[in-house]
Symmetry: D2
Subunit: 226 residues, 4 copies
């Protein structure tokens, strides 16, 4: 499925009010230097026939819009992630294999873990293999961002209920402002997408309409899909 055209939180005013009263869902706002993190837009996730795949066509198009804007600015770092393990799984703790057996399909170097070609990654854009949901866990992402004085991360890709949420939480934990353009994240389950987008906005990141993100980045907002 594709992401919802409108941020979920708009549709749950009562629940949002309850959270606001409890001191959640404040706005972190934009910092001075953003980076764009494109999470797990690789074959295993984007091909519906794969075990963990779903139709993320609309999400992919919207990420393309963001990449166009970002690459024009020339000073917004872009980082792509995938998940990958050694073919013998010597680097994959047993508990991960037990809880999420699909992990055993993520073999380093295989087609499944390659980025979708439409993203057209440039050589200077980092490509990180992450072992777990958060793009920060046991990867060099944090060091890359610190070294470039990034203070804001725009998180896009999939899945809203897993790697997106987890990456946003880590970002806040480490002192970054995290922004999620709602139409540029997706999930195999519509209900999980909705529920987690609400939690993300309440606890970890600002969930914004993609047009607002594009506007802030100084680009123009073309017509959106989805």
């Amino acid at each position: 499925m594709t992401a919802a055209p409108q941020p979920h939180r708009m549709d749950n005013r009562e629940l949002l009010d309850q959270y606001l009263a409890a001191g959640f869902a404040g706005r972190v706002g934009w910092g001075e230097r953003p980076a764009l993190l494109v999470i797990d837009m690789a074959g295993a996730w984007t091909r519906p026939e794969e075990m963990i795949g779903s139709d993320l066509g609309g999400v992919l198009e919207n990420i393309g819009l963001l990449l166009d804007v970002v690459r024009k600015t020339d000073d917004i770092p872009v980082v792509f992630t995938t998940m990958a393990y050694d073919a013998t799984f010597s680097d994959l703790p047993l508990v991960t294999r037990l809880k999420t057996p699909h992990s055993e399909q993520m073999i380093r170097g295989s087609d499944r873990v390659q980025l979708v070609p439409q993203l057209r990654r440039l050589p200077h854009e980092a490509f990180i293999e992450k072992p777990r949901a958060s793009a920060f866990f046991n990867t060099n992402l944090l060091s890359i961002l610190v070294a470039q004085r990034v203070d804001t991360v725009i998180v896009v890709g999939c899945s809203t209920s897993g790697c997106i949420r987890s990456t946003c939480e880590s970002a806040l934990d480490y002192g970054f402002r995290a922004i999620v353009p709602a139409e540029a994240v997706g999930d195999r389950s519509a209900s999980a997408h909705e529920a987690n987008l609400f939690d993300i906005n309440a606890r970890y990141a600002d969930v914004l309409p993609i047009q607002e993100v594009i506007g802030h980045l100084g680009g123009r907002g073309p017509a959106l899909t989805g």
Copy 2:
């Protein structure tokens, strides 16, 4: 509100089947040495009149049942957590204050961040101040567990949609088996509780009926509240 008497996943067979087919929701099972992590059962969360408080009476009673069983065994470490910051917030990054303004109420040493007395913490049971949702983030919890060869963590307390979920995710990330007794975790929002219990079971931990947990720990299962 108190936790649901039955694990959420029981009630969503269709969604669970979808996740099972996608290689999620396997069972991590029990390891050889469990520890009990009691998350954030302190005044700010357990007193309904507090900003982030709710009625967690049933959850507290069920944690009491687990503590009784665990303390009889004499070889299951118990760790309690709370959240606390310096009164000047010099150790609290601005982004956390912006996203969750209730953080500013969690002053080190204040009544709000003290454990509820009913837990009757013993001197050798660790008490950890954590700065963020996961009990592992920037605390000594990991080192404490490694030093005692713990391989399984039983996670109880609140809130299901925040610190419980996050602690379970970190546990799996670090190679631990995580177990959540469904009736011993709670949340201020029933819908957030349900949605996150499903995600926790699908991605990070085994969500089990508390009777099964008590049974495994060698104790007897008295009548449950809730």
Copy 3:
């Protein structure tokens, strides 16, 4: 003992040349935003009669010179650290107690772990209790620095062969530029001080004369002790 008046590396040209040929000891240089990290200038370390104490009077004076310069600029964050554990050691893994029995003297709230009063910490200057040698390990330091877009850390205090070296290594690991003003770090052992200052400069940080650091920070270099 006080720190050496001249950086060690100056005196070991042959060894330095060997390291330069092996691709070590490059200069990280200054970034755009420095912070000053004052490591473990608390009673247990600065009072010679304490178990791990030594005479750090010259180091303390030189740190005072840096604090004067830094506080005038008004935009260089200052962070102080100490080490402290719960009086029951419930938060201190056994291995630490076995390897360094002096850890058992570092009781939270005790006089030994308080900063020396001459530092005159201001309320907005962070004060962090760290459980291990590196100021980054299991503390909020990283999040505090990221949130303020710090890219350079000036590391001062004690001990050169322990917490100073370890903090510099973590800083580089996380993508920061680390600078050590040679006369503002000290150690109980002159040989350990010298050997580790060399390693620090070869591997993790730029070891500079304090006058060069003061000059860069825009201040004037008054006469130095040592």
Copy 4:
């Protein structure tokens, strides 16, 4: 150069006594389940003609003795490490390149970063690419060890003053007992080797004669090189 035939600390009784009096250099001792960590025994380090290479022939032979003993036991996990970066260095923070320019030679997949064939790694023995000195930093090592209930790490390989020391420190930080067989670690600089072996024993790990390690592991100690 090869490692010293006798642990350094034996030769510095006065300095060791000073450290013992200061509450350092206790013994962590053996835990219940050891693992063997073989650090950076790859071409870039073991071929003397390489930029960071030196003659580690004696160290390699002694590691071979340990591997023989360990592989016979069948229940001691073995983990090998190397350092490696993407050919475009998109995953390598600038500060690392500036401080240690040799990092730019560690290209993933190149001959330099392959393990030396004499180690004869078996498929189930983990092989980890680490980005920094400590084998724990931003790798899955910790999760692998936790999942197998390892509580003791035997650290061998190179370099004593860099990756060996740093890995021992991380091990203690995370609650593991660390053991260094003195004759199975080496460094390009004899003085750096000696100075750091002393610090390692004083602060982070037990430095033992290799015969004592082999004896403990249940094997017999054949004649040693070095």
